[in-house]
Each structure stands twice: as C-alpha cells, then as structure tokens.
Point group: C2
Chain length 157, copies 2
Amino acid sequence: MAEEIVLIDNDDPVLESDFIKEMVRQMRAVDTYGTFDKYSVAQILEPFILTKEMKREIPIVGDPDEIIISRVKAFYNAIAALIEQECGLMATTLLYLSYEGFGRAIITVGKLVIVDRNLRDVHRFGFQDLSKMKDEADKLLSVAIEIVGKYSDAAGM
Amino acid sequence: MAEEIVLIDNDDPVLESDFIKEMVRQMRAVDTYGTFDKYSVAQILEPFILTKEMKREIPIVGDPDEIIISRVKAFYNAIAALIEQECGLMATTLLYLSYEGFGRAIITVGKLVIVDRNLRDVHRFGFQDLSKMKDEADKLLSVAIEIVGKYSDAAGM
C-alpha cells in the first residue's frame, strides 16, 4: 500500500494568508453538495498541490475535466476577489479553454486588462507546494495592482 | 415548395464596405475544405442574415453548434481586424461561451478592453439584413476607437 503523503501541513502559516482564505471561500462556493463541510482547509486545498513526482505520472497530453477547470476558475476568481478588496473596483474573470486544455485567463477591472495569462496543459494544473501557489498569486496580484495604479482612469477610479 | 428568398442582393453597395470585405476574409480563413471557393460574397454572408420570420422559427432555447460559433468568432475577429487597421495595434478577440450559448465576447488592445459584449441566445445569432449587420459592427468599431484614443497609454500607443 502506498504510504500517505501529507501535501499540506495543518499548521502551515501560509494557510493564514488572505489569498488562501479566499481560495477556500471560492472552493466552498462551488461545493454544491457540501462535500467540503467536514474538510479541513488543508484538505480542501490539497488537490491544488502537484509535486514533481505526481506531475510526472500524468500524461503530457490530456483533456482537462470539469473538476480541474473549476479549480483553475477558483484560483483566478480568488485573485480577482483580492484585487477587488485592494482597489475597491469590481474585477471580473474570463476563462477561455479549448477542450484540449489550452486557453487564456483574463481579469479585467473597468476597461483594463490586469491579468492576462496563456494557459496550457490545464489537465496538469497544480503547484509544487502551498507557498509556491501563494507566490504565484502574489506575483499576479502585485502586477495587477500596479497596472490599476498606472492606468487608474481606464480602470474607472 | 418554398420560394427562394434573396437575403443579400449581389449588387448591394454595403458589400463594398471594408467591414464586409473583412467578414468575407474571416469566413474564407476558416473554410478548410474550400467550400466557399465558388461562392459569391453574398452567398458566403447569407448565413448571417436572420429575418424576423426566420428567427421566429428557431426555438428560444437551444445549444449553439460549432458552425454558429465560428460565425460569431468571424464577426468579432473582423471587428478586431478593422481596429488593428485603424490604430495600428494588435487587437485580440476572446470569446467565452457556455454550451448553452451564453457568454461574453471581448476584444483587447494592449491592456485595454475595447469591446465587451455579453452574448446570449447565440444559437439564434444573426442580423435582420446586411446593413443592420454593418451598423452593428460600425457602432462597436467607433466605440472601440474612441476608447483607444481616450486611454492611449494603456493601449500601448
């Protein structure tokens, strides 16, 4: 039997960050059947972690399923929610994905595109560990806030 | 037998407009099998015309098929191409559609959203006549050019 690997520590300090809290909120928002009701935060976010070994076991070419797509949405929606909190303007996410898992994720504020990401291999969407995931979000977030500040008139401020 | 209705006149002056020429170019671009090779311009654009009587015969609820979606894409791509010609900057189209035919069409230039349309009932996509179609495109185009002019720094000019 495979030994159980702990992907996220229950006392990881990253779990206390705003981004992770928002991620959990987004995941719970799409949890229609209450599957997550008794899950810990670490358990809810575990599917986002994909270590190198796990990644290696997934075929390079594959079609993303609904569950993975909902995770990608949750990730970008969480970033949009944080942008909203930060600048007080509504941010909307737009995710375009071909059935093969290629596409583009966009977040807009007013008339401004503040996040613009080409997506590929979405069937292997995941992060090496929780802090890598937070780093990625923080990076997108800081660029986004910078763009809003720079072109605040187009953002509608 | 149903009598043949001419939806587009072969000598309609609108056929000479830049927008219509671009529409034909876009339709030919996705015509992998050369089906349109012997078609006249009017024949290529005929599927875009949906008179009130024709619309009434289509069920209100329905799922758009690939062919209709490719027409919606051609319409927005043609607008993007004209924007490019007008302002010399690359314009990209992003079409997000649920399988039920609801969604959003976006055209961006640089960091600027210049066309932002909510789409619904895409299975009934079409225009009453050719000049209505051109009017619609002209309207989107002039708003887009105005936005680029207003926020030219965010557009990357």
